[in-house]
Symmetry: C2
Subunit: 183 residues, 2 copies
C-alpha cells in the first residue's frame, strides 16, 4: 500500500475539468472506477461491475515504474509493453503470494482485453479522458495535434467495442468541437 | 461524473508518503479502495469486499460541497453532519433516480457504521492516513498536537472495531513514534 502511494505522483496528459493542473494516475483510477460503477449498464455485453472496478483500481499501478504514455503521444508499443510487464512483475510481487497471483491475473486480463469485463474496463479507461478534454475546450488535443480520424481510431474504436452507446453519446460533442475549429 | 471531478481539488490534512504535497480526497478514495481489496481478509467479521470498495469510492463525494474535516482538527460534528447530508442530497440527485437511490443508500449505510461492511469500510478509511503519517515521520500529528490517547480514541477504537488485527499491527509503530518524541 505504501508503494501504491507513488501513483499519486505520476502525471497524465489530461488535466482536471477546471484545467487547474494535470491529473495524476491515482485520482484518474478513482474516477474511472466511479465511471464503471455508474455506466456498467451501458456495457456492450453484461459485465461483473465489481471485477471491472477492481481491474480499474489496479490498471495503472505499473505506471509507478513505467510512467504514463499519453494515448496521442509518440511511444514504442513493444518497449512500453515490456516495461509495464516488468513493472507488474515487481509491484504485484510485493503482495502475499495468493493476492499477488489473483490481482496479477486481473491485470493480465485487463491488458489482454479479451473478456467482456476487460473490454468494458478498457472502454471506460478511454472515456474518462475524452470527457476531461471536452470539459476543457479540447484539453490536450491541440497540444498533441489530434485529428478527428485519430480520435475515432485510437479512442472511438476501443470505446465502441465495450460501450457503443457511450461512444454514440460522446460523438456528437466531439463533432461539435472539431466543427468549431473548422477541422 | 463531471461533478465528481471536483473531488480532486479537495485537500486533506495528510500528505503523500514522500511529503511532497497534501493529498486530495479523490486519490485518497482510490487508495482506501485498494486497501480494502487487499486487507478485506483481516476484517473483524466477513465482509463483501465489492460493497466495501463501492462505499469507499463514494464516501467522500460530499466533500465537494462540505470540504474535508481533518479528524484531529476542531470541528462541530452536528454542523458537519448537516452539511454532508445536504451535499449528499444535491450530489446523488445528479444521477438517474434508480442509481441515485442505490448509491445514496450505500453512503447512508457507510455513515451509519452499523453493518459489517460499513464498519470495516470506516476502519480502512482511518488506517490509510495513519500509514501516511507514519511514513512521513508523524505527518500532520505534530501540527494538530495529537496525543497517543487521542490517537487511540479517535482512530484506534474505530479501526479496532472493524479490523482489530490491523490496529494491532500498526500500534507498535505508533508507540515507537511517540517513544521517539519522549511523549
Amino acid at each position: 500500500m505504501a508503494e501504491a502511494d507513488r501513483l499519486k505522483s505520476v502525471l497524465r496528459g489530461t488535466t482536471l475539468h477546471d484545467a487547474s493542473r494535470r491529473e495524476n494516475s491515482a485520482e484518474h483510477s478513482w474516477h474511472v472506477a466511479l465511471h464503471a460503477l455508474v455506466l456498467a449498464e451501458h456495457a456492450a455485453r453484461p459485465v461483473d461491475a465489481g471485477r471491472v472496478v477492481t481491474m480499474l483500481l489496479l490498471h495503472d499501478l505499473v505506471e509507478i515504474d513505467a510512467g504514463d504514455n499519453p494515448i496521442h503521444g509518440v511511444s514504442d508499443p513493444a518497449k512500453q509493453e515490456a516495461e509495464e510487464k516488468a513493472a507488474a512483475d515487481r509491484i504485484f510481487a510485493l503482495l502475499p503470494p495468493d493476492q499477488s497471483r489473483h490481482l496479477r491475473a486481473l491485470w493480465d486480463e485487463f491488458e489482454a482485453a479479451e473478456t467482456d469485463d476487460a473490454i468494458f474496463a478498457k472502454s471506460i479507461d478511454r472515456v474518462q479522458p475524452v470527457l476531461s478534454n471536452l470539459a476543457t475546450g479540447g484539453g490536450s488535443w491541440p497540444e498533441y495535434r489530434v485529428t478527428r480520424d485519430q480520435l475515432e481510431t485510437r479512442v472511438g474504436a476501443k470505446v465502441s467495442r465495450g460501450a457503443p452507446a457511450i461512444w454514440d453519446g460522446i460523438k456528437a460533442r466531439i463533432d461539435a468541437w472539431f466543427a468549431g475549429r473548422g477541422a
